[in-house]
């Protein structure tokens, strides 16, 4: 399995990580190497096998549908790189 430069550029965009043009080819080769190794999984017969959804089968707890936390605006905003008037501040997105 080999990933080309265009595929790496596409997944980098999906992952919102900028990758400089000159890094795309080396990254494509590196990821291709990893996927070649991963693809030994194709040897396994998985017909009719149920995919794992929970590693320790247990019933989820039910709880009352009530508010247990909140009214902590300062704590929520406390770590923001930029905030104002009770909001997170980001670069302008609407003209």
């Amino acid at each position: 399995m080999s990933l080309d430069k265009a595929t790496v550029a596409r997944i980098a965009r999906l992952a919102r990580i900028s990758v400089p043009e000159e890094d795309l080819q080396p990254l494509a080769e590196e990821l291709s190497g990893i996927f070649t190794w991963i693809e030994q999984l194709n040897e396994v017969d998985t017909d009719g096998v149920v995919p794992m959804t929970s590693v320790v089968g247990h019933a989820l707890h039910h709880r009352e549908d009530v508010v247990t936390d909140g009214n902590r605006q300062d704590a929520v905003l406390g770590n923001a790189p930029e905030s104002a008037d009770g909001y997170f501040v980001v670069p302008k997105v609407v003209e």
Binding site: I17, E30, E43, M52, H58, F88, P91, V93
Partner: protein
Amino acid sequence: MSAPLTSFTLAEARDKLAAREVSAQELTDAHIEAIASAGALNAFVVDTADRARADAARSDERLGKGDGGMLEGIPVAIKDLFCTEDIASTAGSRILAGFRPPYEATVTANLWREGAVMLGKTNMDEFAMGSSNETSYYGPVCNPWRATGDNRDLVPGGSSGGSAAAVAGELCLGATGTDTGGSIRQPAAFTGIVGLKPTYGRCSRWGTVAFASSLDQAGPMTRTVQDSAIMLGAMAGHDQKDSTSVDVAVPDYEAALERSVKGLRIGIPTEYRIDGTPQEIADLWDQGIAWLKEAGAEIVEVSLPHTKYALPAYYIVAPAEASSNLARYDGVRYGFREDRDDLTEMYEATRAVGFGSEVKRRVLIGTYVLSAGYYDAYYLRAQKVRTLIADDFKKAWDSVDALLTPTTPGAAFGIGEKSDDPVAMYLNDILTVPANMAGLPAISVPAGLSAQGLPLGLQVVGRAFDEETVLQLGRALERAAAFDHRPTPWWRDQA
């Protein structure tokens, strides 16, 4: 001269504190001093000496009145993956620079409830992604151990490398770790200490920075099996804030330690004899088998046919979950931001600069395997393989009570030695990953030294929620191995 206070085991310190032979403040000061003279190990990223002194004073007050929790006055270190209220929590990443959580992780809250003293936060691979502690934004951790006649710096393993080095270097009496694919057990083996990964669901994941949510599990790292039993007792328990934490009673783990292993059936999985395993690892394994046989256990050869697929399946499941979990680091709500005029450019630049190369590599792998058109071929197939791996273990439990294997395919290696080849680095976890994929409890116990004089570990894997048998066998191996080697404290000369 009597041994320094930092050489106590956690259990010895607990007993001396209760008997008022030593005060929590003396014990804490001795550890603060040890940490101050161990800068060369780079084991800590956040030092909380003032907090430790305040904790210790409070513990002495309680102990003076004859009360106190299970860990009252015991100085511990916390892997920097656990969110600690108002104390920097970085996950070893630049992207969390400056982050001070307004809440406390359940596992650490449990430790404080039981009276533990917080010394600081330990270095780790960035977002727990690594097997050598070299991916930390805060620099690599040095293993306190060095090969005989060689003063090159070695890795402590990872991702809980700072915790492992702190415990091995006698900078704390115990430390928390987390284990997603071997991140407690592999560094424990590399540093000659005990590391226990509990059953998935035994310890709450709430407040622990998420890497791969279906695999992550917190556990203790200590110098003895008894110490791990004590520490796990304090860390474990059901938590309403983590729906995957399981509501089963936490047994008295310490009570399980001295049970005889006579009559226990121990499985030796054929598939763990991997081609190219060094002879000394095979010999160590044989030695472990002989020890358990002498202790009266019955040895049974078992087959876990899908073992070799656990690691490649892990490298789909873990990156997939990581790519989703790490989407929250967007430069808006916490931590680091790389300013740009455009929002998308800001996200992309923040994540490009804030994440290190291994984290980016895994986020890209995860994004790819979850992307449209590839989900069935990769993620779904990996989750099916995971079912087969778990079924292998379930079948084994029909004929055995636990499994014995080596923890790692080799001893600690040099810093920089494996950083150029991701797959070679991933292979470090080949013997530890299957237990994560199946959610099972597993312990690594120091069992001997390599020809180069470096520690090697043996691993015991048990049934889900049967940490007691795992600890009991760990104790039997510890007793037989009588591993009393300690690293020479070279780092103290460099203070």
